[in-house]
Amino acid sequence: MNKKETILIVDDEKDMRFYIENLITSFGYNAASVGSGYEAIEKVKTINPALILLDLMMPEMDGIEVLRRLKEINGDIPVIMLSAHGSTDNVVKAMKIGASDFINKPFEPEVIEITLSQVLERKNLLLEVKRLKEEINKQTRYDLIFSNNKKMTDIKSIIEQVAETNITVLVRGESGTGKELVARAIHATSLRRDKPFVKVLCTALPDNLLESELFGYEKGAFTGAMRRKPGKFELANTGSIFLDEIGDMHPTLQSKLLQVLQDGEFARVGGESDVKVDVRVIAATNKDLDRAVKEGTFREDLFFRLNVISIIVPPLRERKEDIPFLIEHFLNKYNLQYNKGLKKLSEETMARFMEYNWPGNVRELENMIKRVVILGNEKTVLTRFKSLDAHTDFGYQNEVQIIKTDKAKKAAPDNGFSLKSVNKRAIAEVEKETIKDILNKTRWNRKEAAQLLKISYKSLLNKIKDYELDKI
């Protein structure tokens, strides 16, 4: 801890002031002292102390009053009260106003040292928490703002319009377009912003587990239900619930969800009594729900219930003018996170980025920038683009064909006679080249290579060993 912090001593007795000042200096802090409450208030405005030691009993303005005024000026500075007259009443009073601790006079020097370091440590922790909270708030606020695209600005105005109502919103768009950000923005601009925002990924769990996740269960509802569990809807009470990938929800669950939307009531799994909740539902899907309704996999009544307001987030390829802003944003974000200093992408990469059609949308862009920042160069990203240009699907199929015919000729017998052994050698030769090639393509990512070769990871490892392949 940084010990060169200034501590302000407020005491009307000169000797006491002098004594404490010496003590504090000997502990390695800076000390300043004043003899009255008025001076203390003036001093705080100029020196911004890390902590104040305040005598309770002083003429003119007593410690309690000084404390109250100090807290009005700057509530973040911790104050430790000193008193020879430590009556319980005053202790309670001072604590209620916001004193951090209390030291009775006379005191041992160690008491001062320990109390000081404890209070300062706590203060620093609180400041750190405050800073982190602000950072998080800032992040969630800004993520949506950058955009020049008409569709995106439209979305922003819709969000502002619907935020203060309790209307159910359905967010639609391809994977990676930022549906969750839209949902969070709705919650953050709504009157429920200080209440919980609970996210449920409907595809993450099998249907029966999803039901108990959403609605909770009673003790003994099924094997393993040791105690009653509250559902996400209960947890989100008075706040918002975000149901992601709702298009994949099982029809039986859909009907239970419909009931909550209509009545604000549901029963826990295995429960009889209804639980009442007030939850705003924001749902999202990348599925074509209209078609799902026609096909009968999604309940029509639920669809209408959810689809009161529908926000369609456009894919990145339809708002390419946002790409530079997004790149800048993600560069800043990851530079900060990984402590790197990559300020700009090269012209070539930028041009590639603008051309590319981004099937994975903003998430894909974000991951690519993350990779560039971490690796510190754009080579791998560019290589990937190049291979995408040359062949679809990494072009492995074509190349393998060429290798096969080529190598098969070379594997003709020059010292063997049996056709079987020729066969074996030829295959080995071709296999070796193919594996080597694919491994180089995947930058020796063996898992990916095994998938492309359609063999198990383990047999790939064996083959690498057999053919004595080495990373170059």
Binding site: T88, K195, V198, R227, R228, K229, P230, L235, A236
Partner: protein, 156 residues
């Protein structure tokens, strides 16, 4: 971190842990409850400090070792009971209340009796948020005291 007299957590640490409990309960989906316990001290209670100390000891003895107890202000105790929903909460609170009621606080051969009031609120049944949870429990303890103390109150 610890209160010198009762060896219980001080208010700021307790508040931090309560906030953490809410986050944990939210994430891992479980119930928990908050008790506010206050001795029914009368004007003529002359050995307040002893009663506070003994009450603190009894509370620590009655709850599970995994429960969190804090001393808030001069004479209030806050207790977090993880995984307790309304019925369990009521059972535990009632047990503490009756133990104190039957306890004899004695000093210098004089026999003193004292009672406590308890207000409770359950997460997420009564609230799913720090401020509201504390204020529901606080309302309940006021109600308990208004009807004469020696009572446990839970939001209906």
């Amino acid at each position: 971190m610890f209160d010198v007299q009762t060896k219980l957590l001080k208010s700021d640490v307790f508040e931090y842990l309560l906030d953490l409990e809410i986050k944990k309960a939210m994430r891992y989906q479980y119930f928990f409850s908050l008790l506010i316990i206050e001795p029914d001290l009368r004007e003529d209670t002359y050995n307040e400090a002893d009663i506070i100390k003994a009450t603190a000891d009894i509370i620590s003895d009655e709850v599970r070792i995994t429960d969190t107890i804090g001393r808030i202000g001069n004479n209030k105790f806050y207790v977090i009971l993880p995984h307790a929903e309304t019925i369990t909460t009521l059972t535990v609170a009632e047990r503490i209340r009756s133990r104190i009621e039957n306890y004899t606080f004695s000093k210098n051969s004089s026999v003193i009796k004292n009672t406590i009031s308890i207000g409770a609120a359950c997460f997420p049944t009564h609230s799913n948020e720090l401020k509201n949870l504390v204020s529901s429990a606080a309302q309940m303890i006021n109600r308990a005291k208004n009807i004469g103390g020696n009572t446990v109150c839970l939001p209906s």
